[in-house]
Amino acid sequence: MSLRITDTGLNRQMLADLQRTQSTIAETQLQIGSGSRINKPSDDPGAIARLVDIESTQSRLDQYTRNADAAESRLVLEETAMASAIETLSRLRELAVQANNDTMDDAGRTAIATEITERLGELYEAANARDAAGEYLFAGTQGSVRPFSPGNLNAWNGNEVPRELPITLNRTVKSGDFGADAFLRVPAGNGTFAVSSNPGNTGSGVIDAGSLNDSASFTAHDYEILFTTANTYDVVDLDTGTTVIAGATYTAEESIIFDGIDTYIKGVPAAGDSFQIVSGEQKDIFSATSSFIDALNQPFTNATERASTRQLIDNALSSFNQSLESLSTVRSRIGARLQIIETSRNENDAVNIQLAHTRSDLQDTDITEAVVRLENQSTTLELLYKSFERVDSLSLFDYL
């Protein structure tokens, strides 16, 4: 038996249908209008959790790009400072070579000394370089205090705490270098050991910076080459007190080889003259330059004085070479970091594009589909109106 149909029931049904259709139309309209198919969490509770995550990740990626920009601007300034320091040092090396020329007279050397004093100022300027915010670049995290000051050569006011910034989801970059690495911690001599002549020497012997010829037998001990007569010498290991070479005959510019060390002495040493070889020492670039200036300003009248100046100039030359190496190392580190920043930026962009794509997949209204849906829903509504009109106008009373 079918149910009795009543007028209230019919009207209720009709009203419910109208309301339902109208609310689906409103929803579709909102989706088209806002461009988003998710306008509140209950529209798609699964997708909304991912959207919250994606939005948070995207905002971090934007931040990483800003961090990369900040780090880059500092690193570019650092690189400029390094480049200028390297240029200065190359000039210093040139001047050292020039000063070492036998034809150079006292006046010529004094002129060179004057230029070098100027150049030292440039070097300090580079080492005390600042970023856009006025922070010293080579002071670690002591950026508000000038790290290097003339006249106080070894005192460094910086620290070695790295200043890092995250630039991708899993990578950080150091946006600063330690002045100590670039300017202070420069290996003395040829990088392995440093030579010097005893200031009390009476001969004109000058010891060459030498080189490491066998790292396996190198001991890193300190040595002394002592001339027992004008043409015989001993080599003593100062750490152990043992005599490594005893009573060798001196020939100018002939290699003296012991414990992996290869050097030679030229000129005419006198009996009692001595030369020192020390290992693992470090010398800062500023005091190396200062002692170079001092050596140049030292006039000489005899072969002995000349030899001593030569020795000092030779040593300065070695120091400059080592410094150039230190600076180049730091500079290439900066270059590598700049490259990483560039790569990271591209990576972030790629991830961001991927996320934006996922986000759009999750969230965006498929407009074509939505418009077709709206069309269907409107048709349904129209039909409902029509059928309501038809049904409502039907009444048996009209026929009685």
Partner: protein
């Protein structure tokens, strides 16, 4: 002849009544709760029974109210269930709109705070950047509290609506009792159709407020019961409902029924229907979990930032203070407690906190704890450690004393930024390290991290000196006392003293020294800013989720339950429509049907009138014959 006339007269009278009944139906076609009426006609037997005896016409037996108690009951039940779900849905939709709103939701505020932290990390000495960071900290705290305030005001509104709905139930119950009285008084006399309709309508209204059970009595009265069969209306007597505050209830309120001094509690869990059932379900299943999770998130975020911030260094060289203020855990004592003892709660591990309140009952020296969110129980002697909380006794409680512990409840409301000066932001690390400039070796040292911010020696300067290539001493550089000597060195192994920890890697040499000391002042370090930013990645919620994940999960929980409610409400509205159709099929007025009836009864009336005319003709004919 007179029998013909008599029959016709009964017919005329009966069909007049029939037409009147039809007119009553037509007039009430749109009256809510009206049940259609039908006239019951009976033929009247002849006065004497013999072959050829003719009946004596028609009689109106009754004007019947077409009504079925069960289908009415089904409408009431469906409507009660639908109203509950619909009320819950409407309230939940507000939370749904609140949690993910761009302007009100939490996740943009958390992202902005993080971005400001990293901007500060990129430029720690800039006062402007610090100012922005302080602003976004304020925004974060405001967002938490305004969200919680929104939730609380919803809770208050629900309480007010519940109050007025309860008053309405009470008034409707009085009316039902009054109708019961009138119906029982009229008894078998009849004519109670309209009053019964009215009573059904009132019961339906009560059902839309709270689920009610009806029991029809033989005397015509209908008794009403709510909750666990607690009576509301018996014949013409009523009881009242009321709401009282009760700290030991999860909602802070208890529903009661009774009168005078006699009141009994209604179980929240069996009050599932009507708008009152909807309010209770909303408070229990949507509002409370949201508040709990939001509160926990506020606590974990704020206290995590506080802890890290305290281990950092401000530009003036002093250590950071708490960044945010958050209220501590709340203990509510039951008014029935017989001792003055209380509980003291400390939070031991934020990452173990659960989104729930706890009911703690004391008995014979032990605490019996129930976690409200899932009913899990714990017991043991105080102090008791549960879910990152340490519950200790404060005084000696009596047996049966009950307390409610709420660690998350209103945390978010009370969250505020404590810092006011941008220079109070501690962006720098507590400790720095200096590598000896003349170090012969090439070993590197990791930045020391603070493991115990309360260690008294944390700020003293400590030197690690290599006494040989593979052994080192650890010396307090101020007092010169050795913390350790001749320690053997392993590259990359943790070295921890005075509440910090570091690692030295590479190949050190005799004479190498490393000094760990409070961060140099003034410092342009950003280590603590990064540590603060890293908190966002920590699995700080329940040890399994980051704060952003937790928020995403909360949004998805609210969205999911709202959607489920929507689906259920739609299903229930279909059921309701079906029940209404079934009831209408019997009790509703169909105008077409009434039209047929009207025409049928009119025809019968006209026919009866014709019979009178015929009788008259017959009579005239007879008279003519007789007078002739």
């Amino acid at each position: 002849m007179s029998s013909v006339l008599n029959n016709a007269t009964t017919g005329l009278l009966a069909f007049q009544r029939a037409i009147a009944t039809t007119s009553q139906n037509i007039a009430n076609a749109n009256t809510e709760g009206y049940s259609r009426q039908r006239i019951d006609l009976d033929s009247i037997s002849p006065s004497a029974h013999y072959a050829g005896a003719v009946g004596r016409g028609v009689r109106v037996d009754n004007v019947e109210r077409l009504h079925n108690e069960f289908s009415t009951q089904r409408v009431i039940e469906s409507s009660s269930a639908y109203t509950a779900e619909d009320t819950h849905l409407n309230l939940a939709s507000r939370i749904d709109a609140l949690v993910a709103d761009e302007a009100l939701g939490l996740s943009p505020a958390m992202s902005e705070f993080d971005a400001a932290l990293q901007d500060a990390a990129a430029n720690p000495s800039s006062a402007a950047v610090r100012e922005v960071l302080l602003g976004s900290g304020q925004a974060l705290a405001d967002r938490f509290s305004s969200m919680q305030i929104e939730l609380s005001s919803t809770r208050n509104e629900v309480a007010q609506r519940m109050d007025s709905d309860i008053n309405e139930v009470n008034e409707l119950a009085l009316s039902v009792a009054d109708l019961n009285r009138r119906i029982t008084l009229l008894g078998t006399q009849g004519g109670t159709n309209e009053i019964e309709d009215q009573r059904d309508l009132l019961i339906g209204r009560i059902a839309d407020l709270i689920d009610v059970k009806t029991v029809s009595q033989d005397n015509g009265a209908v008794n009403l019961a709510i909750g666990n069969g607690q009576w509301l209306v018996t014949d013409s007597m009523t009881r009242e409902m009321r709401i009282v505050s009760d700290a030991t209830e999860p909602s802070g309120q208890a529903l009661q029924i009774g009168g005078g001094d006699l009141w009994e509690n209604l179980d929240d869990n069996v009050t599932t229907g009507g708008s009152i059932g909807g309010y209770l379900a909303f408070a229990r299943d949507t509002l409370s979990p949201t508040e709990q999770r939001l509160g926990r998130l506020a606590r974990v975020v704020a206290e995590g930032i506080n802890e890290t911030h305290r281990s950092g260094i401000k530009p003036d060289g002093t250590t950071g203070q708490d960044w945010f203020d958050v209220p501590g855990p709340l203990v509510i004592e039951s008014p029935d407690n017989t001792s003055s003892a209380s509980l003291s709660i400390t939070i031991d591990d934020n990452s173990a906190l659960q989104a729930s309140d706890y009911e703690v009952r004391h008995s014979a020296g032990n605490l019996y704890v129930t976690r409200r969110s899932d009913g899990e129980t714990f017991d043991g002697a105080a102090p008791l450690s549960i879910d990152g909380l340490i519950i200790a006794l404060d005084g000696t409680p009596a047996d049966g004393d009950t307390f409610i512990v709420s660690a998350n409840g209103a945390v978010a409301t009370g969250m505020s930024q404590r810092l006011t000066d941008p220079m109070d932001i501690a962006l720098a690390r507590r400790l720095g390290v200096d590598i000896g400039l003349e170090n012969p070796g090439r070993a590197t040292i990791e930045q020391p991290s603070v493991t115990d911010v309360l260690h008294p020696g944390l700020d003293s300067s400590v030197e690690i000196v290599f006494t040989a290539d593979d052994t080192y001493d650890v010396i307090d550089s101020v007092s010169g006392t050795a913390l350790a000597s001749n320690m053997s060195f392993t590259s990359g192994e943790a070295i921890a003293y005075n509440g910090w920890q570091t690692r030295i890697s590479g190949i050190p040499q005799l004479g190498d020294s490393f000094t760990i000391s409070p961060g140099d002042t003034p410092s342009t370090d950003n280590g603590n800013a990064l540590a603060l930013s890293d908190l966002q990645d920590a699995l700080s919620i329940n040890g399994t989720r980051t704060s952003v994940d937790e928020y995403a999960s909360l949004v998805s929980y609210v969205g999911g339950s709202t959607r489920q409610l929507d689906t259920r409400a739609q299903g229930l509205s279909t059921l309701l429509a079906e029940a209404q159709d079934r009831r209408d099929a019997l009790s509703g007025v169909s105008l077409d049907e009434e039209a047929v009836d009207l025409s049928r009864f009119t025809q019968a009336y006209q026919a009866s009138a014709q019979v009178v005319a015929t009788a008259d003709t017959l009579f005239q004919n007879l008279l003519a014959v007789v007078s002739r």
